[in-house]
């Protein structure tokens, strides 16, 4: 019998839901992987289910003031989601809470760079263009430091793409891009 004949999609969807509800990102991704391998035509809809379920879980964490876990999950999703309206809404809810309550997030360096990019999205969405630009500048400064000893990674690539989108003044965005390109092409 083939794998397809014995594959029970519902079991793995249930497992996926359980992993997300237990905040187990690694296992949830493994289950998503199995679902996509066995029903490849549904890859995009499974991924959507995965994102939506995480958004629900994270909102729950935020509502329960579990901001450390919420932040960690949001950062891991931020670097894989190119654009998702619901996720951006969630990001605003999370960062609103962090900023308004002046919560110190104690971030490591690699988390900081993601956080700056997330903040640029936050300020762009609430139309504070000046702060959005400042966050992009901070994000790019961190990236430049990283690039001294590393080649540009896929995460760095997506962070630059996502951050640049958050500068409404396109001329300014070009200037910042030109500046970081000097670093990218130098190393």
């Amino acid at each position: 019998m083939s794998e397809k004949n014995t594959f029970n999609q519902k079991i793995f969807l249930d497992r996926l839901g359980l992993c997300i509800s237990n905040n187990n990102f690694e296992e949830a991704t493994k289950n998503l992987n199995i679902l996509c391998l066995n029903n490849p035509f549904k890859t995009e809809s499974f991924v959507q289910v995965f994102f939506n379920a995480w958004c629900g879980k994270i909102l729950n964490m935020i509502n329960n003031n579990n901001l450390n876990d919420a932040g960690s999950r949001i950062r891991s999703l931020f670097i894989i989601i190119k654009y998702n309206k619901a996720f951006n809404k969630l990001l605003i809810i999370y960062l609103d809470k962090i900023i308004k309550n002046e919560i110190n997030q104690n971030l490591k360096n690699d988390e900081k760079v993601i956080n700056f990019s997330m903040l640029s999205t936050y300020y762009y969405e609430i139309q504070n263009d000046e702060k959005a630009e400042l966050m992009v500048i901070s994000c790019f400064q961190e990236i430049k430091k990283y690039l001294v000893n590393n080649s540009i990674s896929s995460i760095t690539w997506i962070l630059i793409q996502k951050s640049l989108k958050n500068i409404r003044n396109k001329r300014k965005a070009e200037e910042l891009l030109a500046d970081i390109l000097k670093t990218i092409t130098k190393y």
Binding site: S2, K4, P40, W157, L164, K170, R171, E174, A178, L181
Partner: protein, 564 residues
């Protein structure tokens, strides 16, 4: 004789022909602004009628002038009553003759045949899948089958490869693969829904490498980063001497367990790039094998090639260089959109027994007047300046030379997936920053995807190792200089558009002007669209894209639009 062709497909399109000449055509996605918009002819009256009106407007005729409608679909064939069909297209023809139903691969064949001098040749059609075998009796345009035809089909199967022989007058089926997706079918048992199809092998790779089944173009770009030797012993795609093709999904499923479900950038990941290289190499090898078998049986110097797989310019280049054929006819709309044209032309042939021909072209869109353009521009808060024709070329070529990226909207839009200089984003191919600016800021792309050059036809061989011309960007070759990093892919190749004045006067004059300033007759040419969106169609689309995107300059007709 006005005939409307409809591609009822996941890549829906409408085309209008008159006496066998293509007058206008539009992909539904350009109207709905949803990429790969389907036409279902079921509860989509607004979309269908807008597409039809678009074609009628360009031709200057009305619904009442239509004589026939010809429909092609890879889905279930459902005959439609006249009343319902006229309601869908938004008007009633006066002297209506008939509604035609055309087999999918046959429509691909009639499409590509139109762009030739009708010399004898083999027509090869390869895509994901087309007509269901069970539906054949429902067509009122039937294929003629050659007595020596080799056919591997099942009643519940779908055509995935078809070859025809054109004897200068008639088209006859000479080869077909159309196996069922039935999981009880031994060969498809581990297919997970994928068919015995080269197009579906690419779908599998697209799903596995890019997290989406419609990213075959990305897989092709990624292949240049991989090593095709890594999996050379797997033998996923095989063809026996009788032309029986097999895609071994069982081996794929056993070997590859980590799909890139989130569609992450794969530039530095050999797991995926080696798979892409394997799929590319397998495809090239099998195409040469199929064509060798066909040519041995039906000797000819001419190949007509259509279907979605024909968009693979690297494989096309291999076919060209194989010297199996002296003449290879390829055009820009070989995907399902082209079957709208093919269906209309097949109906014309069925009615009259005649065929007409055309030079290679894909400019079938509408022309927007200066007034329409100005009206649109005034709705947006941008600075604009009306330039003379000469000044337009001078100013835009200078901007590009100074490393600006410019939106370029001129004349009739392109019908197929390639922007051929009428709905394009243009940039300097020489700057080391151009690709980064496009990838990171303007097009928001993964790094492994290349950008295409357009070169003045008379200089093409000086800069590219290219066989013949490539007016619709369907083939390519190695870049012969190290000076053009923005258009040189990882393996030094480029998908080239060669441009003659006859083919596109406005675009030709722009590049000529750029050549005078820069000393090189090449510009980077990529499609004018935002990430995830279809190519812009009308002036408002272009200005919306300009508003939401990151371009600083947009030349639309003779107007230069800039940000305040």
């Amino acid at each position: 004789m006005w005939i409307l062709g409809i591609s009822k497909s996941h890549n829906g399109a409408v085309a209008l022909s008159n006496n066998g000449k293509v007058i206008s055509a539009i992909q539904a996605e350009r109207i709905s602004r949803v990429k790969r918009q389907a036409i279902k002819l079921e509860n989509d009256k607004t979309l269908v009628s807008e597409c039809v009106n678009y074609c009628l407007d360009q031709a200057g005729i009305k619904h009442s002038d239509l004589h026939s409608i010809s429909i092609c679909t890879p889905w279930d064939v459902v005959p439609i009553e006249n009343e319902k069909l006229f309601n869908l297209i938004g008007g009633i023809p006066k002297n209506y003759k008939k509604t035609y139903y055309v087999p999918h691969h046959y429509a691909h064949a009639e499409y590509i045949l139109h762009y030739s001098n009708l010399s004898k040749g083999i027509i090869l059609v390869i895509d994901g899948s087309g007509t269901k075998e069970k539906d054949r009796k429902l067509f009122n345009i039937q294929e003629k089958v050659d007595t020596k035809c080799k056919s591997y089909v099942e009643e519940s199967g779908k055509e995935t490869i078809s070859a025809y022989f054109f004897d200068g007058k008639e088209v006859s089926l000479i080869y077909r693969l159309g196996l069922s997706a039935d999981k009880n079918n031994q060969i498809n048992i581990n297919g997970n829904g994928f068919l015995q199809s080269i197009g579906h092998y690419w779908r599998w790779a697209s799903n596995y490498c890019c997290g989406s089944h419609s990213e075959a173009g990305k897989v092709m770009g990624l292949a240049a980063f991989g090593n095709c030797e890594t999996h050379k012993d797997l033998k996923i795609l095989t063809l026996d001497l009788d032309g029986f093709l097999e895609v071994n999904y069982k081996k794929l499923n056993e070997k590859f367990k980590h799909p890139n479900i989130f569609g992450k950038d794969l530039t530095q990941n050999s797991h995926y790039s080696d798979i892409a290289a394997m799929v590319q190499k397998d495809t090239e090898n099998i195409l040469i094998k199929i064509l060798t078998i066909l040519k041995n049986k039906y000797p000819t110097d001419t190949l007509y090639y259509s279907g979605g797989v024909a968009l693979n310019m690297v494989a096309n280049e291999k076919i060209i260089r194989s010297n199996l054929f002296k003449n290879i006819i390829l055009n820009g709309s070989v995907e399902d959109n082209g079957t709208a044209i093919g269906a209309a032309l097949a109906a014309y042939n069925a009615q009259t027994g005649a065929r007409s021909t055309s030079p290679l072209t894909d400019y079938y869109g509408k022309v927007y007047s200066d007034d329409e353009i100005l009206k649109s521009i005034k709705k947006f808060p941008f600075k604009y300046e009306l330039l003379t024709e000469e000044k337009k070329y001078r100013v835009v070529s200078s901007l590009i030379f100074e490393n600006n990226v410019v939106g370029w909207f001129q004349d009739r839009s392109e019908f197929g997936p390639r922007a051929l200089g009428n709905r394009s984003i243009l940039a300097n191919p020489k700057s080391q920053y151009t690709k980064y600016i496009l990838d990171l800021h303007i097009k928001q792309r993964d790094r492994y995807r290349p950008y295409s050059p357009v070169v003045l036809e008379e200089y093409a061989k000086k800069f590219f190792d290219i066989e013949g011309n490539s007016p619709v960007m369907m083939s390519g070759g190695k870049v012969l200089s190290n000076n053009f990093p923005a258009i040189t892919h990882r393996d030094n190749s480029a998908r080239v558009q060669t441009l003659s004045e006859k083919n596109n006067k406005i675009f030709y004059r722009l590049i000529k002007s750029f050549y005078k300033i820069s000393g090189y007759p090449i510009i980077l040419n990529t499609s004018f669209n935002l990430p995830g969106e279809p190519i812009v169609e009308n002036p408002t689309d272009a200005l919306n894209s300009f508003t939401n995107g990151a371009l600083q300059y947009l030349c639309i007709g003779n107007y230069l639009v800039t940000r305040n």
